[in-house]
Symmetry: D2
Subunit: 349 residues, 4 copies
């Protein structure tokens, strides 16, 4: 049993971490912080937890966090980087669900997040926590930058194409039309997020620029080993009137080599040993509800036109896109079974 | 053509007033105020109005409002009563969609709304704007207190029973189990109102006490001429994951006289000449979508057990429960056709 | 490990049983039947199960079912009673999620379900499977009639009042205003159930009579030992635009004795040792999402007026109201931990 | 006043036609047919119409239809073409909301709709009813093929680019990622359409091929005068958990000429005189709710990357995408004001 702390336990990713960790066989959650709810029982705030825990919120106390084996930051951007060095010095591992340790490019970080990085040295040693692609590095990491939700669907959706000897696709042709449920925007009082503004409605947002674009670009560069070719990919996110769920529809132009290959077989092989990535049979249409509450990403492939590939990549943004992937990373870091605490079957309907 | 002002044009009742008034044949909207959006085009904020108006928001300027024939207050409680006397003195009529002119009982007003009334004398002369029951008084009113949404469903649902020579029901037995869409809570940044907190969810709220309870009690006393018998009625509102719509399920114990009567016929006769109250045939189940966007209230009656009456009363909370009824009152006050601007058919689906 | 069969594996209760049983530590699902999908993999139909099972549907084969230790019927009414005798003779236990073994009153059964009972003798020996109230009988039962969803909320909501020496409430005053998500209507092609007919809409249904009314009456008679006093209770179900979740708002008149008691304490004591019934603190408002996917029923009490009690009783209709309760019964019948396979925390949001 | 008939009055487009035509100043609806509801009052089926009409359904009687000035077919594909010749011979105009008169290419029609065309000669004389692009031909047409919902968003979204002397875009680069509310699938009992299968869910469908693809191709050829260059455009529709609304996100590669132009100005000029096409200001994000219930299509443009144009095109699929556009066509055919009966402001929220 390791001792776990969660900083920021009143948001959706925080309570989702709790849902997973309170039933995890190797873990004891000992610290749960909140700036505003100090002393309050967490199950008073989230009655779904009644009967499962006696935890109370406490103010962030770095000494208490240092006693933990690992601390998750389910906080706004910029919090984890303020505490990470001290925690690492105390031999406490850090998993940040915000963006502090996602981008290695400091300039991009400052441009998109509007703040200077607090610990650039530690950032260099940190590991980008996409378990399936960085498994070995994650096992030895002290600090994990847990991927953004959209970038998770895109990377796992595209990785098999860029891990081949041949050039299968034209990287500059990539268009990502992404759709997310509303919980991706977090749990905060905001006019744009209220029910009557979002229900029975659909729209694009962030078309002129979204923070996940530089993360996608950097990640694809790392996956492919190619530089500069992803700078002009197009990424348009949309907001779906549903709570959980994310679907990225990815369009790529195939090269002749890519067009000639059996890409369905390629993907199936690539993910054959992955518990949490499911390549669906040809002609499938992955639905977000098929992963509701589950740490699972499902992929389907189509070639609707010659030399055109469409990749459908679906996940629960709060699980594989956030808290579940964070737990998966923790499992790797501590040598637990990778699927420990993550075996639950999603709710359908 | 009369000149109309709207104070508070950024909330849902304000924009609903605009939707109705911009197509009203006898009306020109000349003033639209907002504390926060001064100078902004209203169709920039609400693109559904693009092509229908060039109106801009302005700060509340009492002199501009005095030039109007009538001013609607689609504001929080306590605003209309601060300006009503000055407007009335300038011969400008006032229709308040908040609670300032709903309760004649000052003590109740102060208890439930936490403020002193600013113009008790004017309150006495004001008229409670339930068009169907107070038509004659409304025609001559200078100030209208537009009814609350829940109280509208309850009064129109119960009125026929209390307007008879005989005692048909036991007033102390009344139980109102009411359900409202989320737009009833207004358009404001509030954690409890965000999409992910309300979608795919159902709950009661305000069970220990709701501001519409004293309004219902006072209104039923006025309708029936009975005092003290409604003090202990039970009113439990619930929140439905939908934008618009309200259904009150009202339970009453019948007297022997009430049990013996043909209540379906009684209701049909009572509302025979009302354009906006529809008594549905026996065994109907009025759905909220049947009145979506329409100034219409529909009623159905059931006697599931001997001497038990169940009344289903349904409306669009933003129309017959707010903006539509306000326009209906205006029509009465200015001698327009009562249904002018209110003939639109609701959206189904 | 016991061997389990599920008859009717294409409906929502069937797939919910699978979700729970595939992760149950003491159980192996060996048979899953469907009239229409013989030979098809269940995870082809329900991709949320991909990676969790290799089960295929088969036609109902009574010899295969006899090899099971227990068979769940997640079928329309009238199926289980045709096979139960043969299964019991083979020492296979039966848990019916439909109505065949709910009502002991054959006349009522025939009136409300429009069919003759196929095995009245076995019905007499069957046990009504409300785990909390019938635990001892369930342990020794061969055949269980799993309660209806509405009756579960009502019985657990009212039981503490009727298990006292004193008469606390007036039984004839009971009014149940119940609200259910749409999944309660099952998974079938029906015009009234399609999305555009139900979304953004609210209505009552079955006001003139609903099959769960006689079940509620019989159950309350059994709980209280009182006859004839519940015949005229009022039960009005409503349809909420959400998938899962059920809230019953129950109104009762208290006697002087009931009014004098601390009912909050009474309820808390009554359910003190129950894992799956949660009496919330005073002034709570149980939300359906607090039990989404969990085998949990939550209760809150209010006294909004003297001698009036309001009971709010909430559950996931597919779990505590159907499949979860069925698994809870199975656990009791086979001596497993009562919460085996039922410890999952619900999804919030 | 002209006399109007509607064939197929029980589907969503039929009842939407009624909603618009019952308040149209120049029209009297005299015939409303249904195969299944002969003799039933339409407001019994759709209570939203109570108080607005006394119409009853009748069986399709060609002699009654011939007395009409115009007949709308809100029927499945293949119905209108069986009756159109006889109606035209009787000088009755025909507006088909299904696909019978959309495709001039008979081979494509037979391939995608699985039936032979019943009146190829009349088809040649029929006019494709996209009002903004075919206004003059529509004015003189006897038979109108009302466009499909997706093709309407695509054509109006792309037309300005293809009506220029210069080549602005690479036609073969077009990718259409389209999203529709569920009402687009019609009003029929179908398992895939029920509430619990669609709510809180998102998916693509028809990726391997959708009937609107050949319509889009043929239409773009007609608009641009170019042949063969659109054959390989990619069109992927998705299903959004909302009732009404459609958003197409269209991606095109610009030529150098296109990249150099002020496309925002180009679009604004192109649609400057169109009442029902709204080019929103730069950086707008058109939401489906901004056109809910309104005969309006809104467009916004983005250039997120060099030489990449993203067009957002939004409408209410039942109005501008179906019934509203049909009424607009009727207005043109009979010389009414083009916006007669179509001035209603959409519901927001």
């Amino acid at each position: 049993m390791i001792s776990v702390g969660i900083v920021g336990g009143t948001g959706y990713t925080g309570v989702e971490l709790l849902r997973l960790l309170l039933r995890h066989p190797n873990v004891q959650v000992n610290v749960l912080t909140s700036r505003t709810e100090d002393g309050r029982r967490v199950d008073d705030m989230f009655p779904s937890l009644r009967g499962h825990t006696d935890l109370c919120y406490s103010d962030l106390n770095i000494d208490e966090l240092k006693k933990c084996d690992v601390v998750f930051f389910a906080t706004p951007h910029g919090v984890a980087m303020k505490h990470a060095e001290e925690l690492v010095a105390a031999n406490t591992k850090v998993i940040d669900l915000a963006a502090d340790f996602r981008l290695q490019d400091l300039e991009q970080f400052e441009k998109w997040y509007g703040m200077q990085h607090a610990c650039p040295e530690l950032l260099k040693d940190s590991v980008y926590g996409l378990s399936e692609l960085n498994r070995d590095k994650i096992k030895n990491a002290q600090v994990i930058g847990n991927p953004g939700c959209y970038p998770t669907t895109v990377q796992l959706g595209l990785a098999p194409l860029f891990k081949q000897a041949e050039v299968l696709v034209k990287p500059e042709s990539i268009i990502i039309d992404a759709k997310s449920g509303v919980s991706g925007a977090g749990r905060k009082a905001s006019l744009g997020m209220i029910y009557s503004e979002n229900s029975d409605n659909f729209k694009a947002y962030g078309v002129a620029g979204h923070r996940h674009q530089p993360e996608i670009v950097e990640a694809l560069e790392n996956i492919s080993g190619l530089k500069d070719v992803f700078d002009h990919i197009v990424f348009v996110p949309h907001l779906v009137p549903m709570i959980r769920g994310m679907l990225s529809t990815i369009y790529v132009d195939l090269t002749d080599a890519g067009d000639a290959l059996d890409l369905q077989a390629l993907y199936e092989q690539f993910y054959a040993n992955e518990a949490f990535v499911d390549v669906m049979p040809a002609n499938s249409s992955p639905e977000t509800r098929s992963v509701r509450g589950a740490n699972q990403l499902r992929i389907a492939l189509y070639k609707p036109q010659p030399k055109k590939l469409v990749i459908l990549s679906v996940q629960d943004n709060l699980v594989k896109g956030a808290a579940g992937q964070a737990v998966q990373n923790m499992n790797l870091m501590f040598g637990f079974e990778e699927d420990a605490g993550l075996q639950g079957i999603g709710l359908l309907p």
